[in-house]
């Protein structure tokens, strides 16, 4: 990694300020999960198409800015490139396009799609008797979609123990359709479940590395906006907001002062 999670958050804030785009609180909730995935899976930023790579699918596609910032930290491209975020003709849209960004496996955005595609990738790897693992990151809000649970049932029934689902439990649906006790639910569906602090990279890595005979779900207990007090305490207000110059200064100070 060429950047710390704190620096990644600062990059996200600066790009969001400059572009006027970004789902900052949701990006902040998944930074450590993404860092753990990219620290765990087999990949080569210099050869994004390497056939021996594991696959990662960002099913909660609106965390794209966080995804880009983490990929940049893992040397896929310079962070300066991402400053065109959301602009006309940019390769870095507010939802990632696999045909434009090297290393992005699936173009996502509409919720409830990526996990099914990831299950298909895992199934294909099984058929090919490959040891490829497939990782996907889904949101708790996204899991309001029935297609998420269809994919989970298919993965369990198909014995896809090469599929790891990271469930970003940031509580974003508390005001709408909350999913209490997600670990119990995934276990009831037949998954191998771990529940960890989603902001502890080492704990996440440990959880990701464990393998059982079932599809694995790592429930990452996170805080939406984690890393900046203003964001974590007002994540609904900041869901799709970009900071102005003064807010940027304050948020960068908050990130700098955040006690890990």
């Amino acid at each position: 990694m060429n950047a710390t999670p704190r620096e990644i958050r600062a990059n996200i804030l600066r790009i969001s300020h400059g572009s006027g785009h970004g789902h900052i609180p949701t990006c902040f909730s998944v930074i450590e999960s993404l860092c753990a995935v990219y620290s765990t899976m087999r990949h080569d930023p210099q050869k994004p198409e390497w056939t021996g790579r594991d696959r990662f699918v960002l099913s909660k596609g609106h965390a794209a800015l966080g995804y880009y910032a983490v990929m940049s930290a893992f040397d896929y491209f310079p962070i300066e490139d991402v400053h065109t975020f959301g602009a006309f003709d940019s390769n870095f849209g507010c939802h990632a396009d696999r045909l434009k960004v090297p290393g992005v496996e699936v173009s996502t955005g509409s919720l409830g799609h990526g996990i099914g595609v990831a299950a298909g990738m895992a199934l294909a790897a099984k058929i090919a008797r490959s040891d490829t693992r497939v990782y996907t990151l889904i949101g708790d809000g996204e899991s309001n979609e029935g297609s998420v649970w269809e994919a989970i049932m298919v993965a369990v029934n198909g014995g896809l123990d090469n599929l790891t689902v990271i469930y970003d439990a940031n509580g974003s649906q508390g005001r709408c359709l909350p999913i209490p006790n997600p670990a119990e639910r995934f276990a009831a569906f037949g998954c191998d479940v771990a529940e960890v602090d989603g902001h502890d990279i080492d704990a996440m890595k440990t959880a990701l590395q464990e393998k059982g005979g079932k599809p694995r779900v790592v429930v990452a207990k996170t805080v939406k906006g984690w890393g900046a007090r203003t964001l974590s305490e007002n994540f609904h207000e900041w869901h799709r907001r970009s900071p102005n110059a003064e807010e940027l200064r304050n948020l960068l100070e908050e990130v700098d002062a955040w006690a890990v």
């Binding site: 173009s107 199934l123 294909a124």
Partner: protein, 292 residues
């Protein structure tokens, strides 16, 4: 036609290890020999059509050539966003093979009818939309298109026609060209009725199994005639009308749910797509052309 689909895919799976079949708990018994021959490439995955499409897209992403097969309205109208995004926008592609459209499940009512499949899938960028009308067509077109890395939709029928047509992908067949003032254009299994209805009439007759890409060159040949599109679905009429300055009339589905139960033939008779109904519609077109 489902039997031919099974036979053709079984042949393909025997020579191409990338071929896999995903069923939505339909045609399971029919594919039992496929399952025995290729147990690791056969999945009766469940009644979860959205997931079937997403999973197939993921398999395509890894280089496989999956066929997703179940009942038409559920795998198309219900799953149109998965088809649009997971297969097409991502350019993973995949083969979608439906059954039960064209009122094959008339007795089940409108929940099992499929009015929009051809029309909406045609509108998704980079798709191919095929409505084969006979076993020869589905065999040829499956073999030709299954490995093309695109999203390709095949709409099967339980009531194929037995007329010999060109099975080349993207090519229409001119079955009659008498220089008449009226040209009848149709697609898929309805050709049997249309052919019979037009047998004694002085009209040109053009048949399509490929709705996208539509054969514009053949349509252009008849641009100076009065074109009547006779179809048991939406999609063909709209495709023909996209040829610049072509003006057509449509004889097909009414603007209502055709929930009268019975059989395919009962429904066709009620909406004027039996031989007599089509003949009447064509005769009206001929009469208008003569009086124009």
């Amino acid at each position: 036609m489902r039997g031919q689909f099974k036979d053709t895919v079984s042949d393909l799976a025997g020579v191409d290890e990338r071929v896999a079949v995903i069923l939505g708990d339909v045609s399971f018994y029919m594919f039992r020999h496929f399952q025995e021959a290729h147990p690791d490439r056969f999945y009766n995955m469940g009644i979860c059509e959205n997931a079937l499409i997403s999973v197939a897209a993921g398999m395509s992403a890894m280089g496989m050539k999956p066929f997703v097969h179940t009942i038409a309205p559920f795998i198309t109208e219900r799953s149109v966003e998965q088809i649009k995004l997971d297969m097409s926008y991502n350019r993973f592609g995949g083969n979608i093979v439906s059954c039960g459209a064209s009122f094959d499940y008339a007795w089940d009512g409108a929940t099992h009818h499929t009015y929009m499949d051809l029309a909406i899938l045609r509108l998704i960028p980079d798709t191919e939309v095929i409505q084969p009308g006979s076993n020869r067509e589905i065999d040829s077109l499956l073999r030709n298109r299954y490995a093309n890395d695109k999203t390709t939709y095949f709409r099967l029928s339980d009531h194929p026609h037995d007329i010999d047509v060109d099975t080349t992908f993207g090519k229409a067949t001119v079955l009659k060209d008498t220089g008449a003032k009226v040209t009848v254009m149709t697609a898929g299994p309805l050709l049997g009725n249309v052919f019979e209805a037009c047998r004694e009439l002085d009209v040109n007759l053009v048949y399509f199994h490929t709705l996208k890409p539509i054969d514009r060159e053949t349509i252009e040949r008849f641009r100076d005639t009065r074109i009547l599109v006779v179809h048991d679905a939406f999609g063909l009429h709209e495709a023909i009308n996209e040829v610049p300055d072509i003006r057509t009339r449509y004889h097909g589905l009414p603007d209502q749910f055709c929930g009268w139960y019975g059989t395919l033939h009962d429904i066709r008779k009620r909406i004027g797509l039996d031989v007599e109904g089509i003949r009447n519609a064509v005769e009206r077109a001929v009469s208008k052309a003569e009086n124009a």
